[in-house]
């Protein structure tokens, strides 16, 4: 059996004693898509960093093409044909695509940077591997999916035979995922090998040939994708049976939030959402379905008080919210889990305790006469860390040092530490592992069961279908369809409305809009 990568007994212990990899083994065959799955903290990233020369193993052997490899840095790995695309891209925003691709190894004509040659080579690579992107476009103007292609092109330009993709789908919309998978298949057809790190199991099963499962720093096993199933993989990853099933709401409360003929405009005057009307009742989750950028996020921002309303009204019970500040809305019982935890949800340089108390600084328990009660803040944090099982060294640890899933738990803990009347949720589990997803879903449904009216937006249709009691579909800033959730409702049905192929008339929607 041929092997492009063989790792044997890889052990990596971080200073401080964390055993990230404990005798891990990995065998990758040429031309296959090999997925490495595991929960956050299972050691996938460390293993990949070792393959790419960023980390050095404390013990174990790494063989590339049957020859021993000892990497001092990424440069060595690149020289041996290993390329890696990280979750966070490293692209210079103002550079063109081709400049980003060739940066560091530019084609030269004397001392001059040979632009024509660079453009030509990038265009050639982009065509060969079906990674469609305009070489001369400015990188910052490209959508995330295309920026990712630029990253892949960077690795291919450096002649990577083995391409490591670190959670490539976490940042992508569903259509972009399909395009990425097409490119991955082209790559393997051209003889390249792809290592695919992920924790969304349906995607893993769709794209990969074989799957290595990791748990708690160890390899649990290797399975052939065609011979396994989602529940089986989930059980291997978590070490127990996981049920990503959610009980529907049984509660049927009075109407809590009324959105009436709402129109939202951008500063430039462009209409973002038009004539939106929908209601959310106590104890139900209303899912906002749509391709990103069709007005769902803007609606959530308008309800949260982060975006001005051009016309129409948003009411909570009988109080109009439109004139109220964010703080006043929060006093009425509004909570919000924002889309981007790093930019909007958390202050990464601040401690976990500070983040957990950030929305409650007018609460006399935490601040009296302009002075913080540090003891109470600490106790509050310790209690929440325990209640939401956040994996963190202690309340005084900076939030930026936590894993994605645990950061998200900090946001969830802060927003749900007191029972909200209205809960706004956008992308609650983006880039979050299975265990944390399960926990976050449970937290949201618990809030619902205690009577919260929940508005949920997510790029993950299966998440929307799993959690929502009712769903409304957005297309170009309008509601084009509304459903009561049931077993019969499928992602395909939603998809045809999301892409604008179908649209319901008012009569059809009426029943589901209640």
């Amino acid at each position: 059996m041929q092997r492009v990568i063989e790792a044997r007994g890889i052990t990596r212990i971080y200073p401080g004693g964390t055993v990230a990899n404990d005798g891990v083994s990995l065998v990758v065959r040429p031309g296959e898509v090999h997925a490495v799955v595991g929960e956050n903290g299972a050691g996938k990233s460390t293993l990949m960093k070792i393959l790419f020369g960023i980390e050095k193993p404390d013990a174990g052997d790494l063989l590339i093409d049957g020859r021993e490899a000892r990497f001092e840095g990424p440069r060595d790995a690149i020289d041996r044909g290993v390329g890696m695309v990280f979750q966070h891209f490293s692209l210079v925003p103002s550079f063109t695509v081709y400049e980003n691709v060739v940066l560091g190894s530019e084609p030269r004509a004397g001392a001059r940077f040979d632009r024509a040659a660079a453009i030509e080579r990038v265009r050639h690579l982009s065509e060969t591997f079906r990674l469609k992107v305009d070489p001369e476009a400015q990188t910052r103007t490209l959508p995330v999916g295309q920026q990712q292609r630029v990253e892949i092109l960077k690795a291919l330009y450096r002649d990577a035979k083995i391409l490591i993709l670190d959670e490539p789908t976490a940042v992508l919309a569903p259509q972009e995922v399909d395009e990425l998978f097409t490119a991955i298949r082209t790559l393997t057809a051209e003889g390249r090998t792809v290592i695919f790190i992920a924790h969304k199991l349906p995607e893993v099963l769709e794209i990969s040939d074989r799957i290595t499962v990791m748990r708690a720093g160890k390899t649990v096993g290797e399975v052939v994708a065609a011979e396994t199933s989602e529940p089986q993989l989930a059980a291997m990853m978590v070490g127990r049976e996981v049920a990503l099933r959610v009980d529907r709401s049984t509660h049927d409360g009075p109407r809590a939030v009324t959105v009436e003929n709402l129109t939202l405009k951008a500063d430039t005057g462009v209409t973002l959402a038009e004539n939106l009307s929908l209601n959310v009742h106590e104890g139900e989750i209303v899912g906002l379905v749509g391709v990103e950028g069709n007005g769902q996020a803007e609606l959530l921002e308008a309800v949260a008080g982060l975006r001005a309303v051009s016309s129409g009204d948003i009411r909570l019970k009988d109080t109009s919210l439109t004139a109220l500040s964010v703080l006043e809305r929060r006093h009425l019982g509004l909570s919000s889990i924002p889309e981007d935890r790093l930019a909007e949800g958390l202050a990464v340089e601040s401690t976990t305790a500070e983040n957990l108390v950030a929305t409650r600084l007018d609460d006399p328990r935490f601040a009296k006469r302009g002075l913080l009660n540090l003891r109470a803040i600490r106790a509050h944090a310790t209690a929440l860390i325990d209640r939401f099982s956040i994996r963190v060294g202690g309340p005084e640890f900076k939030v930026g040092t936590l894993s994605g899933g645990n950061m998200q738990k900090v946001v969830v803990a802060r927003e749900l530490s007191e029972q909200p009347v209205v809960l706004l949720v956008n992308q609650p589990t983006r880039g979050v592992d299975l265990g944390a997803t399960q926990f976050i879903w449970k937290s949201i449904t618990d809030a619902r069961d205690k009577g919260a009216a929940v508005l949920l937006s997510s790029a993950d249709l299966s998440e929307l279908l799993a959690l929502s009691d009712r769903l409304v579909v957005f297309y170009h800033g309008r509601i084009v369809a509304a459903f009561r959730n049931s077993e019969a409702l499928t992602a395909e049905t939603l998809g045809s409305y999301m892409l604008g192929a179908d649209r319901m008339d008012d009569g059809q929607m009426e029943a589901a809009l209640r």
Partner: protein, 310 residues
């Protein structure tokens, strides 16, 4: 008013503008290089001042060009010192920059008094040399072309420098690295570019260019050193970098604009004796502030037009 216009549209005024602009152009290019590499060099002022004194003292004992080279080396060395503190010892670049400026203000006076035997104001006792003037007598009577007559050798070199920097930034791989390092260091780093090395060289180049500016100031604009003779030119240069949209050609024009106002402040006292001279001397600084405000408003508008929320 007529007198002012006649004065402004004379060959002498043009020569004054070029003379006043040359140190600014060098300092602006120095500021541009380090700004594009991601380090705002607030020490241009101090670098120029120290370089000015160095070239004056050296030129008193050596040929003029050795004096200029000494000024350039002094600037480059200050750049290297800044790189050491900022990049290796992780000190804040702004604080390091102000450190250099404070060192320059006090240090030059101290060094001056040592070199002149006690004089703390000027180097009048030192027989320092001047940078040669490029005279083109055959052009003296040709209209328009006579504008090329009688400039400092370094003014011609400044033009060359701007073109060379433009070529370096936009036509060579190293220019690409420098701009990449300044805008998003993670990208060149991932591509195997040594980010710290690029930044070090940028600071050294920045210092060398300010050094040229300092040499021109003390070996042509004035021959000899006066305490605090840079008089804020380093900070005007920083303004010119931004006003010139962080592009060498734009920055050149910005520096020329400030040169025009400096020349005006030289010409005007003779014509408008009723305006206090101090007030006239503030013109370049007022213009800097106004220019930066206008620039900022324009940038905001441009962003809005493109639909980017700030």
């Amino acid at each position: 008013m007529i007198e002012l216009l006649t004065a402004v549209f004379s060959v002498t005024f043009f020569v004054t503008v070029i003379r006043a602009s040359t140190p600014l152009v060098f300092a602006t290019m120095g500021g541009l290089i380090s700004d594009l590499s991601g380090a705002l060099n607030v020490a241009l002022e101090g670098m120029m001042l120290i370089a000015a004194l160095t070239s004056v003292i050296v030129s008193a004992y050596a040929p003029w060009w050795v004096g200029v080279l000494a000024g350039v080396s002094a600037g480059a060395m200050l750049g290297a010192v800044m790189a050491l503190f900022h990049l290796r010892l992780k000190a804040d670049i702004i604080l390091v920059g102000f450190g250099v400026n404070i060192l320059a203000t006090g240090g030059t006076v101290f060094a001056l008094s040592l070199a002149t035997g006690g004089d703390k104001g000027t180097s009048i006792n030192l027989p320092s040399k001047a940078i040669p003037r490029v005279n083109l007598p055959f052009l003296e009577d040709v209209p328009v072309l006579n504008l090329l007559h009688g400039h400092s050798l370094l003014s011609w070199f400044a033009v060359l420098t701007v073109v060379a920097i433009w070529y370096f930034l936009y036509r060579t791989p190293w220019g690409l690295w420098l701009r990449g390092v300044g805008e998003y260091p993670a990208a060149p780093e991932a591509a195997g570019v040594n980010v710290r090395q690029v930044r070090t060289w940028a600071l050294v180049a920045s210092g060398a260019l300010s050094g040229l500016g300092g040499a021109q100031l003390a070996m042509f604009n004035y021959v000899g050193f006066t305490r605090d003779m840079t008089a804020g030119r380093g900070f005007i240069a920083l303004g010119a970098v931004l006003l010139g949209a962080r592009h060498p050609i734009g920055a050149l024009f910005a520096a020329l604009l400030f040169g025009v106002f400096e020349a005006l402040s030289i010409v005007m006292p003779n014509l408008f004796s009723w305006i206090p001279g101090e007030l006239i001397q503030t013109i370049p600084f007022v213009v800097t502030v106004l220019a930066l405000i206008l620039l900022s408003i324009r940038a905001q508008r441009a962003l809005k037009a493109r639909g980017v929320a700030n």
